[in-house]
Subunit: 235 residues, 2 copies
């Protein structure tokens, strides 16, 4: 089975290391080591499903907004400092069950009614990690750029010869996270700043824009910008 | 960190096992064991990228058809018994580099020209495993069904209370593989037969239909049905 590399730079570095073997150049090579980067680990989308336990805050809220898409139920919004953010729920997570009931085929309204009526002490959810999203790991060049242009939160172009080009970053994709930090709803300028202060390894979590637009339907831009959890997650 | 389960049935089985502990009921529980299923392993989409070496057949062909989408390059068709099928390329794989050149921004025509001119002995490709696809693992019920209806290769409905519902299978998704076997272009009747003869654990590889339709543009249904590799892959 072929070796899998987090980024093309890791692949090339591995080849370079193999070529120089144990010769004099070896000490001079600096491996990109994308996979060990904290941001890459935080961003990692985990296949399979997990169970979480949620409880409501003192106002009886979960801080969660859901949306029904294609007969499934998805997280549309996670409010900052809410029970939902505490248990690690993220935009795009698929909720499969709430308190033992399949969410398949539920309307958005029904999902919110169920949440409203659920116990304040413990709500059990089966969750699939962000099925519509994936990550792309890249390395900054000597000028600090990975090589793409973002407009209204969407990748609109990829710079030739850049790490983004090498790693096949695609246009028409909306950026959900930078190194595991949610950037949905932030202004392009804010996202660019987060990218600038990020380390040399940048892992983007992306989603096809056509799907993103379904997910944020009826969600006001204000809520997206000011209410959603944009904090830097713990490792 | 929460335990990850391949299917909801695995999650429930694990909970049942924990509840009965080492009591008299334990011997009667039969764990779904989705993850160890051969079909689930074959279907697994591997994050990261790999390098492959391709050579042309006696007619100078690779058996590969590519398509440019969103400034990236994707496998549109893998002909049966071709060099491309031999090295494990699959519909939807993203080709990042051919012989050291980034494919970012290439047109479909340019990609085919490059392949045509490439060496017959060795073509080196950096590949990302099917970035638009994902898997859903389900268990057949006592009547042998997982609980969804397929029409023109697309999931159009999910049966309430079924494994498909429990595991959040979505509508508006096209089925690419059943237990790692490519079913793209096959008639619904043929796919249903493959499902019927599959074991009790069924892993579907799916892709949002809106994206699938982009990928198969300008690809004749005849090619899809008769030329594409639909063989059962090795473990």
């Amino acid at each position: 089975m072929s070796t899998l590399y987090p980024s093309l730079e890791d692949l090339k570095m591995d080849q370079a290391i193999q070529m120089v073997g144990s010769g004099p150049l070896l000490g001079q090579l600096v491996a990109p080591v994308s996979g060990n980067s904290q941001g890459t680990r935080r961003a990692e989308i985990k296949p399979g499903m997990r169970e979480i336990h949620l409880c409501k805050d003192e106002c009886g809220k979960t801080g969660l907004r859901l949306r029904a898409i294609d007969q499934g139920l998805f997280v549309q919004l996670v409010k900052a400092n809410s029970p939902a953010s505490l248990v690690g729920l993220r935009f795009g997570d698929q909720i499969l069950q709430i308190d033992g009931c399949d969410c398949a085929g539920w309307s958005t309204d029904r999902a919110h009614r169920v949440l409203k009526r659920a116990s304040a002490e413990k709500i059990v959810m089966a969750v699939r990690d962000r099925p519509f999203q994936r990550t792309v790991t890249m390395h900054k060049d000597s000028t600090g750029h990975v090589g793409f242009v973002i407009k209204k939160g969407k990748v609109v172009s990829v710079v030739r010869g850049s790490s983004a080009a090498r790693n096949g970053l695609l246009t028409n994709h909306s950026v959900c996270e930078v190194n595991g930090q949610n950037v949905i709803g932030l202004k392009d300028k804010e996202v660019t700043e987060i990218l600038a202060t990020a380390g040399s390894v940048v892992t983007l979590t992306i989603i096809p824009t056509v799907i993103y637009e379904h997910m944020v339907k009826k969600l006001s831009p204000t809520l997206l910008h000011h209410t959603m959890d944009h904090s830097i997650p713990d490792a």
